[in-house]
């Protein structure tokens, strides 16, 4: 099944560069040609502003894990593109996503990162909003605003929000499709690791957040399916034996989905039984029962699954035999990673470890260590990627460089050495080293930017 063929609105690559036109077909096997993205998209202020308008205002954006706000009144403050929002659980238990801006003169209403409050009181003139966004208090309102003042007209602007296996998403676009439809066929694959336990998912350590220099798309590009950089950028990781099962004999696929999502997966070559490395063996029957037979085929023997939910959420699943410190149990690490562009050259980033909610604390701890040391804020895996991103930024403002040398995505147009070992949705290409996913991501991106 191919999403690319069945979707009449599939992204079309655009001519992005005078002397290096992009191919009409971002998928391999079709007209091979050069796929290039002009550098101005990675450094320009005008391009960044257009991204916010054309992409971030209309997409479903990830915000938080439900377990970060378990009790009524719990809240976290986050970003949707460039907008500050409050993600709260109201007194009735509903998750609400609201603009974090007072409707009087607009001050940032809630200044904390996290907390619990039944109301948010503005620090300027004292308007007070309930944690579901309703305006409940206006100092001296009868006397100063008169009897006809309609508080209901001044509630906080609330986004559409929805939850997928504990993951809270929101959008301000009333015309966007429902979240489940937006995720589309990607859900089949996300459920392979988000759906393993009847108890659901959990973010047991909460989120961690940092800023860094770099354009947000480089992370989307990298996580969307850059199998090519692994053995070079992360060579030290292979040499030091940290890549675990990924270093053995593997086979892989790159998959593209409607709305711009992608996924890259590898498994131990020739896996024939249902095996779930990184998961406690006594939970394997439950995993097998909860996943569909096609999902079991896909996920069995998995060494790594990573990809993106368009535009700015990455995920990575990697089982690690033996844990990170001697004596730690095997554990599968699932990280979600959100990158918000606070400018063309600056990214605000949040990361979560997501685990099956009812697994043992020792298992979660082992997974957390693996996450910290492979994909944490100070982990050298990430630092070597970030180094490339900031060095790209350093050159992208050079006038001749910016105008003459586009970013190239031609890798492996026809290269598909593996027969996919499962029957799953999306446009499945039998390769784990290709820029097919990046072509898909940028084609969707350019389509939205140039419409």
């Amino acid at each position: 099944m191919t999403a690319a063929e069945s979707d009449p609105d599939r992204p079309r690559a655009r001519t992005g560069e005078r002397d290096r036109p992009m191919s009409d077909a971002p998928t391999p096997g079709a007209v091979p040609g050069s796929f290039a993205v002009p550098r101005r998209y990675f450094a320009g202020k005008a391009e960044w502003e257009r991204e916010i308008e054309s992409i971030f205002r209309h997409s479903w954006l990830f915000l938080a894990h439900e377990s970060e706000i378990p009790e009524p009144g719990d809240y976290v403050t986050r970003l949707m593109g460039t907008d500050q929002v409050i993600v709260s659980r109201s007194e009735s238990g509903q998750v609400q996503v609201m603009l974090n801006s007072c409707t009087h003169r607009g001050t940032l209403l809630c200044k904390a990162d996290v907390g619990n409050a039944s109301h948010f009181r503005c620090g300027y003139h004292g308007w007070t909003f309930a944690n579901d966004g309703k305006l409940t208090g206006v100092p001296r309102h009868r006397e100063l605003y008169g009897r006809d003042f309609d508080k209901a007209a001044f509630g906080l602007r609330t986004a559409r929000s929805d939850i997928f296996h504990g993951l809270i998403f929101a959008t301000f676009d009333a015309d966007q499709v429902e979240l489940r439809e937006y995720l589309g066929d990607l859900a089949f694959y996300l459920e392979c690791f988000l759906g393993v336990s009847a108890a659901g998912t959990d973010a047991p350590y909460g989120a961690f957040r940092f800023n860094h220099q770099g354009n947000w798309k480089l992370e989307a590009d990298n996580f969307s399916g850059d199998g090519y950089h692994l053995r070079h950028a992360h060579r030290a990781g292979f040499d030091l034996g940290l890549m675990g099962t990924q270093a053995g004999t593997t086979e892989g696929v790159c998959i593209q989905f409607e709305h711009g999502h992608t996924l890259r997966a590898q498994r131990t070559a020739g896996t024939s039984e249902a095996v779930f490395p990184g998961y406690p063996e006594d939970r394997w029957p439950e995993i097998q029962a909860r996943l569909s037979p096609d999902q079991v085929d896909m996920f069995s023997g998995s060494t790594v699954v990573h990809g993106i939910v368009f535009p700015n959420l990455a995920f990575i699943h990697t089982p690690r035999a033996g844990g990170f410190d001697p004596g730690d149990p095997d554990a599968a690490m699932v990280q979600f990673r959100l990158f918000n562009p606070v400018g063309p050259d600056h990214t605000d980033e949040l990361c979560w470890l997501v685990t099956p909610a009812d697994y043992a604390p020792e298992w979660k701890e082992s997974a957390f260590k693996t996450m910290q040391r492979q994909h944490g804020a100070t982990a050298f895996f990430e630092s070597d990627d970030m180094e490339n991103f900031r060095r790209m930024l350093q050159v992208n403002t050079g006038a001749e460089t910016r105008d003459r040398i586009p970013a190239n995505f031609d890798l492996a147009h026809d290269h598909a050495p593996y027969e996919p070992w499962f029957d799953g949705p999306g446009n499945v290409v039998g390769t784990d080293i290709s820029e097919v996913n990046q072509r898909w991501f940028y084609a969707r991106y350019l389509d939205l930017m140039e419409d």
């Binding site: 809630c110 909460g206 030091l240 070597d384």
Partner: protein, 169 residues
Amino acid sequence: MFGMPDLSPEDRAVVDFAYRETHLLNADRFAEWITLLTDDFEYRVPHPELRDDPRSSPYSATSLLSWESVHSLRVRFDRLASEFAWADRPPAFHRRHLTAVRVERRDDASWSVACDELVARSRTPEPPQLVSALREDLVRLVDGELRLARRTVFLDVDRPDLAQIALLF
């Protein structure tokens, strides 16, 4: 010493130890520094998290920006010594400054050590950084030698940039 007139010789040795191991980090003498750690050494940087109430801790009780063990630090140092440490080639200028080293004896063989630390780091194109932190250590006597058993770094930064946390404190 000025400001610390009444340190016992044992406490004095712990203060000296703090300066000595920090000097080894400043000098990139990681092979020597790692021998000063206990086998169960842990290094943690709690995640700064702002809450409205000034009486509550501004650090997450669960989330960390960094969590290292002797094993993981050895891997980090092996990488630094390799040709493929892209983010550290060329290396950054860096220096750790310790002030107000406080020691408190816990029992016969262990001390709590706290100090205020200022870490300078510069590496183009990242802007030069000056990061302040509270560093809390646990120091133990192992076979008659002082060893570092735990280090917790409380950053004085609410939303750190990666350039500010790239170094060990």
